[in-house]
Amino acid sequence: MTAAPQEMLLKIEGLHKCFGEQAVLAGASLAVPRGSLVAILGRSGAGKSVFLKCLADVIEPDAGEIWFDGRLLARGDAGVRQHFRSRCSFLFQSNALFDSLTALENVALPLEQTMDLPAGEVRERSLEALKQLELEAFWDRYPGQMSGGMQKRLALARAIVTRPELVLFDEPTAGLDPVRRNAVFTMIAKYQRQFGFTALIVTHDVPEALVAADLVALLDTGRMVFQGSPGEFIASEEAMVIQFRDSEKELSKMLASIRRGETIHTEDT
């Protein structure tokens, strides 16, 4: 964190969620400063996606409080929730594009359905969003006719077209090759700065996250075990952080040795 007394756009306190017997979230808390890019790291199955979906109201948390822009998102208060939804976008891991609609219709849908805009402006703003993500040539294609990277960009276009203050990214790089992974993070960081939204990214790509994020949080066994700047993350002595960081280090060491032409020593050889 750079400036200490920063205004928090989003504050999550003590989020709990159980699926049957299994407690996935056990009191996860997080504070997200306005205009920052926060990365939530964690192993697969640590509850990262569930945490994000609780924020986006896709999953109902069992307990806990979510404050957005100083207002409590109460469970029964439809007005506050609607307000939150109109200012927040969610990028699904699976993109969740509408496969029966063209690219342009996909992007136009949130504008058409939630805002009172004339048809011309809807079209204009949708095309503009497509253009920003270099998809304007494919406006009449269906998502099924696009590559994975294009679909991801289309999903991002749909997420930012409403000019939200907060964008939640659920594993935006899942299933992408390392080059693409980097490109996606660069893209997110670029648009985050360009549009000035606050971004919350769930990922397990440690190096990319450390480069792009302003703030890093580590979720493990349903709790936030670490929260701080990328520098603090690298320097941290927390056991989980070390474990998480060092597994990556092992990998890069291995990669480095391959690059030098050494054979890798595994237990068989």
């Binding site: 979906k53 986006a56 109201d57 896709v58 609607q82 939804r85 109109s86 927040c88 976008s89 969610f90 699904f92 699976s94 969740a96 594009l97 509408f98 496969d99 029966s100 849908l109 949130p110 058409e112 359905q113 939630t114 009172d116 409403t162």
Partner: protein, 258 residues
Amino acid sequence: MVRAVGRYTLEIVQSLGDVAMFVGRSFRMAAGSRKLGRRVVRAMFEQGARCLPVILIVGLFTGLVLGLQGYYVLNRFGSESLLGTLVSLSIVRELGPVLAALMLVGQAGSALAAELGLQRNTEQIAALETMGVSSHAYLVAPRLIAALMVFPMQTALFCCVGLWGGSLSGSLLLGLEPGIYWSAVERAVESADVRECLTKAVTFGFLTMTLCAYHGFNAHRSRAGTGARAVSASTTRAVVQSSIIVLAADYVITSFLI
């Protein structure tokens, strides 16, 4: 045993309440929905224009068979002139609404359940909700509104083609004077019969499309787990329950109206 009955009863009551809430929510949310008309038109295409061939073919053959069978039975009593009465009353009162509804369940209802199930599965429904768009209003309401309009039309078309089929087999194949057939039809069918026919059609449309949408929409709550199996299980359930409810509702409505 007693406990099982109790649990089963509670389950049924609960799911009935659930369906009622689902419908109520869909119509309530539809009130403020934007561009609803366009989606209703789309749904009317799915249930209407696209299902028209099936309706016409099945209607025609129903009429042809009724004409053939009826003629042979009536011929024994020398009452061929009653063929129009037989065909028109069976088609207008019972077969038209029931068969048209079953055909529409088979084509439009299964498609609706599978589509919604897949959209649930690929998080498209969740995506709508995160955008602040009511998935009930966006996906379900247009289908239900369209059903209320399309089912009576399809049923009426089915009846017309069926009556024509009856005259075709009666007059062309079996040599009955078409005039006798048609005058019997016009004499037999009352405005009450037509009212019964259309009442049934609207009711069936509402019930079946509600069930299909409900099961597709809640595919993720299926006991078959998730993914393709959940979609197939919910589609099957939608079609089976819709078909049963058509016949059950038909009995109830008939016994109330007669």
